[in-house]
């Protein structure tokens, strides 16, 4: 009997000691101390019972044993209550996650979330024939121009997340860009079929522009991208629809997840390749209306090879009238070449004088390691060169690109996730993706014939091809290498001697970390 009581007490003490959760350590120190005291007393009691005559000791010991038992019960119960309180408190603490998608703090009910994300792009550009676009009257390329260089292309740290389950936000500064704040918007996702985004954001036009900057196949986007605005400030109604029998998933202001999605926006109107001024304000009343519809017609069809086919069309309408030539959206457009980002056409000396429309048929198709993207754009400006010299300019561009993941991973619009990360000691090397792209820019001759733009400084056409290799060390770390050649029609010479701007042959590299 005595042995049983002692072992019960010892078990109680042990249980009390080992049931202390780590998180309660501070509070538990005092309780532990008390248990040690009780143990000491129990030991003393045991010694006493070992030397004293058994009957008398048992009678005297009973109250002492009961007292100790009560104390241990009390301590155990205190632990239980403390544990209950701590568990309840823990349920109120936000969850913190860190992983390939960045750092995330989420409330326990999942309705509030803040994510910290970032991207750094360090580039190298090497110009094989760096003539800077200059060419002598005799047609000989000069040796001046584009120095080989390293560039910090992007340095972004941004916050995105949601409040009250359906108010999403994104605030994204870029410390390496002249536009310090590319994105800053709120998106109230009232229902999947009707959400409203407000702020500075991408306009729903060019497919390649809408692709995440870190997700594209090539270092720089192709010609059609530059006929859409870069960013604009405005309001956009958008929504997603799932295939019947499925549930729509929130895809953000521009969705690529669902069966059908649409965007309808009203923006200040930044013009081709334009973005809002530093103050984010426009200088005229007329607004630009953008719309886009996008579908994955074979989503959930059971045809795996067609599931990743996306088709869409986008368009914009604006009616800028130049009060002052040269204001954002009020002048004619200017376009850069793809990889060198040198200005190859500049119509800022012309005033916008009427309707500006764009139309963007676009598509992609991702099937296993294979990827395709293509789009065409017609950007029609009404411009004014001088009094009574109004004219219409139809500038257009197209691009197609094909990619293949040599290591077998799936190609997606959101990039490639390597099956095995780069780890030479284990014989794994990440993922390799190979791509090729063709693009073309066609400038309306009226820009020269009526608009009076110089043919020796503005190209008439450009045609480029590029090959690219992307080495995905991990989902977050990518090494890229591109080679691109661009042929130009016009754009060089002097006086009446118009020559073709020298061919660009550029090798570019990038190390990119994005999370």
């Amino acid at each position: 009997m005595k042995l049983f009581k002692q072992s019960t007490l010892a078990s109680g003490i042990a249980l009390a000691l080992f049931s202390i959760p780590a998180a309660q350590a501070a509070n538990s120190d005092a309780l532990e101390q008390r248990i040690r005291e009780l143990e000491a007393r129990l030991e003393k009691f045991e010694k006493a019972t070992a030397v004293a005559p058994a009957p008398a000791t048992t009678a005297q010991a009973a109250p002492e044993v009961e007292k100790l038992k009560t104390k241990i019960n009390t301590l155990e119960r205190k632990f239980e209550v403390e544990k209950e309180v701590n568990e309840a408190n823990a349920l109120k603490l936000p969850k913190f996650d860190a992983g390939p998608d960045g750092f995330r703090i989420t409330s326990q009910d999942g309705k509030h979330q803040v994510r910290i994300r970032g991207a750094v792009q360090g580039d190298g550009r090497f110009y094989a024939e760096d003539h800077g676009g200059a060419r002598t009257a005799g047609g000989t390329a000069t040796s001046s121009g584009l120095p080989d260089q390293f560039q910090l292309k992007q340095a972004r740290v941004w916050l995105e997340g949601k409040f009250f389950d359906n108010i999403y936000f994104k605030i994204m500064p870029d410390f390496a860009a002249s536009d310090l704040l590319p994105d800053a918007y709120l998106d109230y996702a009232y229902q999947s079929f009707a959400s409203l985004s407000v702020g500075k954001q991408k306009t729903p036009l060019s497919l390649e522009r809408l692709q995440g900057d870190a997700d594209g196949m090539f270092l720089e986007r192709a010609a059609p991208t530059y006929l859409a605005s870069n960013r604009d400030v405005g309001i956009m109604l958008h929504g997603e629809f799932a295939k019947p029998g499925y549930k729509a998933e929130y895809g953000g202001p521009v969705d690529f997840k669902n069966f059908i999605s649409y965007q309808l926006g009203v923006f200040n109107g930044a013009g081709d390749n334009g973005k809002p001024g530093a103050d984010g304000q426009t200088k005229f009343d007329d607004k630009e209306f953008d719309g886009r519809i996008w579908a994955h017609p074979f989503q959930h069809s059971g045809y795996d090879w067609l599931e990743g086919l996306g088709l869409g069309i986008a368009g914009s309408w604006a009616h800028p009238n130049a009060g002052t030539i040269g204001t954002n959206g009020l002048s004619g457009p200017s376009y850069p070449s793809n990889i060198s980002q040198q200005t190859i056409f500049n119509a800022s000396s012309l005033g916008a004088q009427g309707t500006h429309i764009r139309i963007y048929p676009q598509a992609y198709w991702y099937a296993g390691p294979f990827g395709f993207m293509g789009e065409y754009v017609l950007s029609q400006y009404h411009l004014n060169a001088a009094a009574n010299k109004n004219f219409t300019a139809n500038n257009s561009a197209w691009q197609t690109q094909f990619s293949y993941v040599l290591t077998g991973e799936d190609a997606t619009f959101q990039g490639v996730k390597p099956i095995r990360n780069f780890n030479p000691s284990e014989g794994t090397w990440g993922a390799l993706q190979l791509g090729i792209r063709f693009s073309h820019l066609d400038i309306d001759p009226t820009n020269f014939s009526i608009g009076g733009l110089s043919k020796t400084t503005n190209i008439r056409q450009s045609a480029a091809w590029a090959v690219g290799l992307n080495w995905f060390l991990t989902q977050n770390a990518i090494v890229r290498a591109d080679y691109e050649e661009t042929d130009f029609t016009g754009g060089a010479g002097s006086g009446v001697n118009v020559w073709d701007r020298p061919k660009e042959k550029i090798f570019g590299t990038r190390f990119q970390l994005a999370f």
């Binding site: 009560t70 019960n73 119960r77 205190k78 209950e84 309840a88 309705k111």
Partner: protein
């Protein structure tokens, strides 16, 4: 024998089909305080039967129980209660002050300040009352171990506290410092503060901690019923508190769920004869005079202090249970 025509049969069949077609399945969530589990379990069945007969709809009421303060916070944090039936009005009123889930005048929407029953706080002691505990003054004696929940989380514990505070003031010429000293001694004798009344019962009954459990009158009788009158005794002190646990529909949630009507009916039915009978059966003091008279013998008369005597729950809560309040000063864990 009366002949029924095909027409009357057809009409009856149509009515039956229409009724069945319109019958709905409704779910309610009742977020309540700790010791009401057994009462609402039975009441939910009675109400579901009543509602089925009245409307044809099937109503299923889910229950959530815990310390009253904790439960109120859970609703504020997003627990979608259609109705709340908590221990004190202060906890319910937080649903208005902090999130406007209920209207400001919620307490005037049902009779008796929305309290379908009252109760009081009594003592449970071990059989034979070995420590001879009869009144509040016995609880502060050295060597007495009392079990009461934590007033920061439990509505019942706050009623215990009010009773003790009222007793101490009465016996010390309304001297608040003396009353604080009394409460300090009382909580010094409390080795564990559970988060709710049911937890305190577990501490006292199953863990065999303490000489006396201060608890709801209904919970005290439940202890006798569930754990044996041969092990425990109920001691009704001559002085205690008039506890008025209120109820209300969480309109914001019920509107979202489309359950406003049935939630309202669920609470109103507590005031019906059937509801009041069930209330008395579970040792809550019914508000209906006839039912109260019928069960008068099971509810001893005693002097009851009211929260109104201390300015109401808002004032009392802020003075005693807010951070840095009287309770924080007199109780050191």
């Amino acid at each position: 024998m009366r002949k029924y025509s095909f027409k009357s049969f057809a009409v009856a069949a149509l009515v039956a089909v229409t009724t069945l077609a319109n019958a709905a399945e409704i779910n309610l969530l009742n977020v309540s305080y700790d010791p009401t589990r057994e009462f609402y379990k039975e009441y939910n069945e009675v109400f579901a039967k009543y509602w089925k007969e009245k409307t044809g709809d099937t109503v299923t009421v889910k229950q959530s129980h815990g310390g009253g303060g904790k439960q109120a916070r859970a609703v504020l944090d997003g627990l979608e209660a259609d109705v709340v039936t908590l221990a004190i009005s202060y906890d319910i009123h937080q649903l208005y002050t902090k999130r406007k889930l209920i209207p400001e005048n919620w307490q005037s929407q049902l009779p008796n300040n929305s309290s379908p029953y009252t109760s009081t706080m009594v003592f449970v002691v071990r059989k034979g009352n070995p420590k001879n505990i009869k009144d509040w003054s016995d609880l502060v004696k050295p060597g007495i171990s009392i079990v009461t929940p934590n007033p920061k989380t439990s509505g019942g514990a706050r009623w215990n506290y009010v009773a003790a505070w009222g007793y101490a003031l009465k016996h010390n010429g309304n001297n608040e410092e003396a009353a604080k000293d009394f409460l300090k001694k009382l909580f010094k004798n409390a080795p564990v503060l559970d988060t709710g009344a049911r937890g305190a019962t577990t501490t006292f009954v199953e863990r065999e901690i303490g000489d006396v459990l201060i608890t709801w009158e209904n919970e005290a009788h439940l202890v006798l019923k569930e754990f044996g009158a041969d092990k425990f005794e109920v001691v009704v002190p001559p002085f205690s508190v008039l506890a008025e646990p209120p109820v209300t529909v969480v309109e914001d949630v019920a509107r979202k769920h489309g359950t406003e009507e049935v939630a309202g009916a669920y609470l109103k039915y507590l005031y019906s004869k059937e509801g009041q009978e069930l209330i008395a059966k579970h040792y809550y003091r019914p508000s209906d005079k006839e039912v109260a008279a019928k069960y008068a013998k099971q509810f001893p008369a005693l002097e009851l202090v009211t929260i109104a005597q201390f300015g109401g729950w808002d004032e009392f809560q802020n003075k005693h249970f807010a951070d840095g309040g009287v309770f924080d000063k007199i109780y050191q864990p």
